[in-house]
Symmetry: C2
Subunit: 393 residues, 2 copies
């Protein structure tokens, strides 16, 4: 096991109707005037934004709003949000939505007290030193941004999708009401579930030895997703399954299942180029990329893939041919993703094999390497896109 620090100070406020307590928690964490960041009209039509505003009113918290945040969030609203905050004396950023809204809110929180361009933190030009406090009211179980120190934003100029991470933008509190996710269409629900599983697999496939506790915790989240996701696809109103998925989504990404081990994250990076180019859902892109990545890298550690196959997917160990066990685990993952309505190849995603050179170029590894489990060069990444392009059940 590697040495590590683990710090997850977010207060999670979990359960039915708890978004009505938002104002109380903003006050608890020192906010006096908030910027409410949200996405489209559904949050208004469902009455959620109204509930949050009433809760702020009741607690004497002023607010401004920034709406219209879209999936695969870009930089433009971040600049708008920073301007509003500076003009209006905002001291607290409240995201009401999913990963895109939360990541935008985090970018604004970093940008307000910074003299330069907030993009400096995403391009790697500068390290954040302060941020406004951020909190969230979560509406989809997926990104894990409600409990993570991460934010991913796309720069409109060049459509570069880049991330940053700092404890400064760990949410002060996150309201997790599973009821808010019951109105989500099946496709978005499945995209979220895929993202959650991918967050675990990016940590699971590691070269670090002797990590039984985090292996087992990773497997716990994966087995939960395998049980609960088909239930919400079949019955979107199943509160209990929604609740299990919502907590699993947080556990998957606040890093409690990932400490003490090298992690990979190439599947995320390779996917980001798909969602940046085609504006597809991140989860859908991961459904296409992650099994392809697994097929490309599994020979690097057959026994680790066999362990996942046996422990997570219930495959019988083939002692005469462990690789067959490993491959069967990957096959079951892709088959599971297909069963919940996810695309499994470029055609189903709406991507084009002829764009692969463009995707590889944008990925930007150049003549270098990337990844924590298997180091990949540009040619390897091209091959993973090719496997993903033509994948079949």
């Amino acid at each position: 096991m590697n040495d590590f620090n683990f710090y997850s100070p977010t207060e999670f406020v979990f359960g039915k109707g708890r978004e009505t307590e938002t104002g109380k928690y903003v006050r608890k964490y020192g906010g006096t005037k908030a910027l409410i960041v949200y996405g489209g009209g559904s949050a208004v039509r469902s009455g959620l934004i109204g509930k949050v505003q009433r809760s702020l009113d009741e607690n004497g918290i002023g607010y401004e709003v920034l709406s219209g945040i879209k999936p695969n969030p870009v930089d433009t609203p971040v600049y708008n949000g920073i301007e509003i905050c500076r003009k209006s004396g905002i001291d607290f950023i409240l995201a009401v939505g999913g990963g895109s809204v939360i990541d935008t809110a985090k970018a604004i929180a970093l940008g307000v007290p910074y003299d330069g361009d907030f993009w400096d933190f995403y391009s790697g030009k500068a390290r954040p030193e302060k941020a406004l406090p951020v909190a969230t009211v979560l509406t989809i179980a997926a990104a894990g941004s409600e409990g993570s120190p991460d934010s991913v934003i796309t720069k409109t100029d060049g459509m570069l999708k880049r991330g940053t991470g700092t404890d400064l933008i760990r949410p002060k509190f996150s309201v997790l009401d599973p009821e808010l996710t019951q109105t989500l269409p099946a496709y978005q629900t499945a995209c979220g579930a895929t993202d959650i599983m991918a967050h675990v697999f990016e940590r699971y496939f590691t070269n670090t030895k002797e990590v039984e506790i985090t292996d087992r915790l990773c497997e716990a989240v994966l087995m939960t997703m395998i049980k609960e996701t088909p239930r919400v696809i079949a019955d979107p109103d199943n509160y209990e399954a929604r609740a299990n998925i919502m907590w699993a989504g947080m556990v998957a990404h606040n890093n409690i299942v990932g400490v003490g081990r090298d992690q990979d994250w190439n599947s995320h990076g390779i996917e980001h180029e798909l969602s940046a180019l085609y504006d597809c859902a991140h989860g859908a892109g991961l459904a296409v990329i992650m099994p392809a990545w697994m097929e490309f890298v599994h020979k690097h550690d057959v026994m680790r893939f066999a362990q996942a196959a046996v422990r997570v997917w219930g495959v019988k160990m083939n002692f005469a041919d462990p690789e067959a066990t490993a491959v069967e685990g990957i096959r079951r993952f892709r088959s599971f993703l297909h069963s919940i309505g996810m695309p499994i190849n470029f055609a189903e995603l709406g991507a084009k094999a002829e764009d692969i050179p463009v995707l590889v170029d944008k990925f930007g590894v150049g003549s270098g390497e990337t990844g924590g489990f298997v180091h990949l060069k540009a040619d390897d990444i091209a091959e993973i896109y090719r496997i993903a392009a033509k994948a079949e059940l």
Copy 2:
């Protein structure tokens, strides 16, 4: 799943030699003068106290010391510690030790800013409203106090063992260096492992339905303990197994595996009377009590016990007789505890069956009931002691 709040703001500083960073973290969390609380001479002889003091010196942190804290910690040193703090202007309590030292440190932290008797918080007479900041350098994986909001203290007058819990005494940071646990005797190591497993089982046996995510997380910790504990009993210097157990011990008790579900905790309460009366190790008492409690209550939810047997202990499900599966799981638990050197009945623990009326009386349930999974009356508690008294493999 029940509604819940989850808040675990402790920064965990995990790895080899990281106790040399203690002073840096005391400074980070605002301490200027610390009370170092520790146990016996071994912490001095091993050089640990010296290392911590040097680290405080290097960071300009002053300190006083309070030593001699014993297992099953009592109130006397708490009063001494409070007095030292008030006299010397202490603003930070640093526990260097295991659960007894940490629980004492937490009690001092509560007592210093309180005008009345600190015991008020343990007797239920008052609720804590403030506390000095607490941090820990952990030397045994067991109590989970390094990440929990809890403290258990015994009042010398009457030997009453009582606990309190408040987020105010969650440690600001906890240094977890698995190397520090390599010198522990096998018996203490096994007591710690038993305590960790008991913390999970107290949460696992619940009447709350639809808690797959926390069920699976509980099982993850238990399976880790079943794999790693025999390795450290066989080879105390096995750093990797020690590291897995140390992180498992924190995960078992900061409540990430227990949120959203009713919990029981009767085994802990029933055991506390044993360790209060005989001054035996808490973990050893749990090894005697918990399987007995399981035998007494398992008919309340045979399928939950069968699930534990199958998922955790690898028992084959007996579909014709699920109770046989459940009972086999309990048998394997007791057998496992025996295999790591734990006592399994009163004789091996040094307790006496003729004291059972005294134990039941001290437990103090009177004509009432207690427990979250199965409500127990005084007669039930007596029967559990009787099962424990005469248990055999």
